[in-house]
Symmetry: C2
DNA sequence: ACCTGAACACCGTTCAAGT
DNA sequence: ACCTGAACACCGTTCAAGT
C-alpha cells in the first residue's frame, strides 16, 4: 500500500482537523459555505465519520476554527493611553481576521461567543477600566464599538451593488438611487485625483473607513468620560 | 375532492410565496435556517418544484423576503434637522426589522444589497445631503453608521455567554473573564436598583444601547461637519 | 483507541412529462 | 400557463462493526 492510500503516521488530532478546516475555508471562494464534513474528511484522506472523534459536530468545528483565528490577536500593548491601546488592539484584531474573510460571518452566526472571543472582549474592557472609565461607561462603550471590536464591519455599503461596468445599468441605478450615485462619484473622483497626484486622495479605502468610524466612536466615548457621563444621569436627562 | 386536498382558488403567485416564507421564518425558532424550499412548499400545499415558477432559487427567495420586510420602513420625516431626521429613520428601520429577527443575518449574508435596502441607504444619504453635509463627509458617515443604519447591531456582547444561572459555572467564567464579569455585575446592579425604585436605572436595555451608540456616532459626525472636515484634509493631517 | 461501511433523514435543483 | 413525479448529487449524523 502506498503512502497516499492509507498509511498515516500522525493519526489525526483536533489540531490537525481545525488547521485543515481553516486552510480549506481560506483557499475556497465560498469560505465556510463551501466546507462540508465530507469534503474536509476527503481532504484529510479519511472517512467522514472519523472527524466525529475529534469534533462533536459541525458547529463545534466552526467554533474551533474561530478560536484558532482569534487566538492570533496580539496581546494589548502596555503603557499607552487607553484610547491608543484600544485602537491598537482593535486594529490587531482586524489584521488577524482579514486573513480569513469567512471568520466575521461565522463569529456572528455562532450561537455563543467562543472562549477566544470572550478573552478578547475581556482584554478590551480591561484597557478601558485601566484608563479610568467606570464599569458603567465601559459597558456602553463596548456596545457602541460593537462589531468593530473584532476588526470588521459589515461591508453592506461598499459591496459594489453589481460590480457592473455596463454604463446602461449604471445610469439606471444612478437615476433610481441618486444620492448613492453622487457619493460613489465623489469617491471615484477623489481616487482618480490621488492617482494623478493632483490631490492627497479619498476614494473608498477599507482601512481608512474603518479607522474613521473607530475614531469617531473612540473620540465620542472619551468626551463622555471626561464629562463624567453615567447611564443613570443619561436616563434621568431624558425623563 | 375536498378543499384541503388539491383545489386551490388563488393559483400561487410571487407575493403569496414571499408572505408565506416570511410568516414561516417569523414563527419558527430557527428563522431562515429552519426554512427549506421543501417545507415552504408543503406549507403552501404544493410540490417543491412549483415554487420555482415564482422564484428563481432559494437566494432569490431570501432576497424577496428581505425586500418585503425592508419595504415596511417609514419614509423619512420632512422638516426636522438632519440629525433628528436620520435618527428617526434609523429607529424606524429598527422597529421594522425587530419584528423579523432573522432579517439582519440574511441581509448580511446576501451577496448584494436588495433594491429596498439600496432605497433606504439612498434616503439616508439624501437626509445628510439636505442637512448640508458634503458628499465626502456623507460617504464616510455612512461607513461609520454601518450596520446600525438598518436598525441592528451584532448582539455579540450581550448574547449571554451561556444563559447559565449555575453559580459554579458563573464563578469560573468570572475568574477567567474578570472585566466582563464586573461590567455584567454593574449592569445587573443598576437594573435591580431600577426595580427597587432606588435609582433611575441602567442595566442592559437593547433600546438604550442602540440609541447610545447611534448618538455617539451622530454627535461625532455633526462635530466633524461643523469643523469643516474633509477626507482630503484628514489624510493630509496624517502624513 | 481509533477508524470504517452502510444507512437514515434530509437538502436544492433539473428535466421531461402531465393537465 | 402552471403544476407534478422521478431522479441527481449532495448534506450532517447515528449505529454497529471492525482492527
Amino acid at each position: 500500500m502506498s503512502e497516499s492510500e492509507g498509511v498515516r503516521r500522525t493519526p489525526l488530532n483536533r489540531e490537525r482537523v481545525l488547521a485543515a478546516a481553516v486552510a480549506f475555508a481560506d483557499r475556497e471562494a465560498g469560505g465556510t459555505d463551501a466546507l462540508s464534513m465530507r469534503k474536509l474528511a476527503q481532504e484529510l484522506g479519511v472517512v467522514p465519520m472519523a472527524l466525529y472523534k475529534h469534533v462533536a459536530n459541525k458547529e463545534e468545528l466552526l467554533a474551533g476554527m474561530v478560536d484558532t483565528v482569534v487566538g492570533g490577536i496580539d496581546p494589548p500593548a502596555a503603557g499607552a493611553d487607553w484610547k491608543g491601546a484600544v485602537r491598537e488592539r482593535v486594529l490587531s484584531a482586524r489584521r488577524a481576521l482579514r486573513r480569513h474573510p469567512w471568520a466575521p460571518r461565522v463569529i456572528e452566526a455562532l450561537p455563543a461567543p467562543t472562549p477566544a472571543v470572550l478573552g478578547h472582549l475581556d482584554a478590551v474592557i480591561g484597557l478601558l477600566r485601566a484608563g479610568g472609565l467606570s464599569a458603567d461607561l465601559a459597558h456602553h462603550a463596548m456596545h457602541a464599538l460593537g462589531g468593530r471590536l473584532l476588526g470588521f464591519t459589515q461591508e453592506l455599503f461598499d459591496a459594489s451593488p453589481e460590480a457592473a461596468p455596463d454604463p446602461g445599468v449604471a445610469a439606471r441605478l444612478a437615476a433610481r438611487y441618486p444620492h448613492i450615485a453622487e457619493v460613489a462619484a465623489t469617491a471615484a473622483h477623489a481616487e482618480r485625483a490621488a492617482e494623478d497626484g493632483t490631490a492627497v486622495g479619498g476614494g473608498c479605502d477599507d482601512q481608512f473607513e474603518f479607522e474613521f468610524a473607530l475614531d469617531v466612536l473612540l473620540d465620542g466615548i472619551e468626551r463622555l468620560h471626561l464629562a463624567g457621563w453615567t447611564s443613570t444621569g443619561a436616563r434621568r436627562a431624558v425623563q
